[in-house]
Amino acid sequence: MRNVKDRLRAWDFKEILAVWVFRICACGSIAAIALICLFLFLGGGPAIIEIGLTNFLFGRSWAPLNIPAEFGVLPMIAGSVYITVGAVIIGVPIGIFTAVFLAFMCPKKLHKLLKPIINLLAGIPSVVYGFFGMRAIVPVIRNISLALTDGGSGASILSASVLLGIMILPTIIAISESSIRAISKEYYEGALALGASHVRSVFFVVVPAAKSGILASVVLGIGRAVGETMAVVMVAGNQAMIPIFPEGIFRGGRSLTANIVLEMAYATDLHRDALIATAIVLFCFIFLINIIFTFLVRKDKN
């Protein structure tokens, strides 16, 4: 009798131990997020208060070394928004059409070849993308810019958009393709049986049915574009100016991420804290994007 009880106790102990191991691991990632928030807001919060929230968010000039120094991040917010919107305009249609092609129009053999290539695209380090952008995209944009406007070095908002448009492709393709494939074949057959052509069945029945998955892929792509740093720094020119549409897209611009990485090495005091505050703005952007993503996925399940 006692023997059985002991064994039960030993089993209980293992069980409880396992639960705690899992619990601690789970807490680890939550703690990481909490610590990041704490660090950001403790580091950047006082700077925002010192500069003034409106001066910081809507200030049109970023001149940390001037006397008095100016810390307006509006140019960087505008830069990030411009670059991201451009990347979405370029990357989203290509990504979605590629996903439709892979899911519905591509011969099996070609799919076997294309799929790993697209996955590889996701694995290329961003500095390599940046290098590709400098050598391949910037010169082309420079020529276009010289032809259309009266100048421009090519390192510009547009170059960054094109490059990011390519970089977000794997995300959009992979998630869109799987959500299109998840749509039951019955919808496709139902449309065909009404006399709709292959392309019409796919575009007017299957793709709309997959729309929340496709939207989710776009949102994740936006998240990637907003957060990308290295590749953007290498091709965007990095001038802290508010771009004026339309010539502005041929001029240099600076993203929030670029602002931090370019100046962190030598920044001190308020300048350093203002960079951390820039990270708060970036964090808020990403947070918003994640909320939208979660919302879309949840809506899809319902």
Binding site: E186, E189, G190, A193, L194, G195, A196, A209
Partner: protein, 252 residues
């Protein structure tokens, strides 16, 4: 004598190496309900899907022999498959309304075939829903998602969707197997009504259903048509032993 609609002559169908249909000869007449019965895997659904060429999308599927619709070979080179499927509508085993509004579900077919005027579309949608005996239930929720309807309503919506493109023939692949007895009854009544205007071909596992609604029955086994004729003859006086065994429930 009713006019012959489909005339199938010596039809063989292969999925790669597997022969799914063997020398099928059948005639289907206008304004009749023809039922296909037989055990699972006997080729009756496959055969149904050759009639509107839905098997075209199955890889490795090829056919030999002839299927004539109003005397013309539907597998001839110059046939427009989309036009064929407009003439030969289909209702599937599992109700498959598109994840769109009730109205858009019905309007999809007519829009596909070039009808764009709002007033025309409204008229077609109303008529199709009335013909499928579901108008009263959905007329106040045309703009709401079709997925909110019950299974039986969804299936009648799919029938309405098929009717909206004005087909001549309606293929139904076990249309009530996913439904409860009440919905099944509603759809059976509907089929009998639709017979006045359409040729209906139905695959069913439910032999009572075949006796209740069909004029003619074909019994399939292992890809062959064992016996075919008037439903009343098949069920009361089968000529073949295997037909008798099946309809009396001794196998299958």
């Amino acid at each position: 004598m009713l006019k012959c609609k489909f005339d199938v002559k010596g039809l063989d169908l292969y999925y790669s190496d597997f022969q799914a249909l063997k020398k099928v000869d059948l005639e289907m007449s206008e304004n009749e309900i023809m039922a296909f019965i037989g055990p699972s895997g006997c080729g009756k659904s496959t055969f149904l899907r050759t009639l509107n060429r839905m098997n075209d999308i199955v890889e490795g599927c090829r056919i030999e022999g002839k299927i004539l619709l109003d005397g013309k070979d539907i597998y001839a080179k110059n046939v427009d498959v989309n036009q064929l499927r407009k003439r030969v509508g289909m209702v599937f085993q599992k109700p498959n309304p598109f994840p769109q509004s009730v109205y858009d579900n019905i309007a999809y077919g007519p829009i596909t075939h070039g009808i764009r005027k709002k007033t025309d579309l409204d008229e077609i949608v109303e008529k199709a829903l009335k013909d499928a005996a579901i108008w009263e239930e959905v007329k106040d929720r045309l703009r709401k998602s079709a997925l909110g309807l019950s299974g039986g309503q969804q299936q009648r919506l799919c029938i309405a969707r098929a009717l909206a493109v004005e087909p001549e023939i309606l293929l139904m692949d076990e249309p009530t197997s996913a439904l409860d007895p009440v919905s099944t009854g509603t759809i059976e009544d509907l089929m009998v009504e639709l017979r006045e205007k359409y040729t209906i071909i139905i695959v069913t596992h439910n032999m009572q259903q075949a006796t209740r609604i069909s004029d003619k029955t074909a019994f399939f086994l292992m890809g062959e048509v064992i016996e075919y004729g008037k439903t009343i003859d098949i069920f009361s006086n089968p000529k073949h032993k295997r037909t008798e065994n099946y309809i009396t429930g001794r196998f299958g």
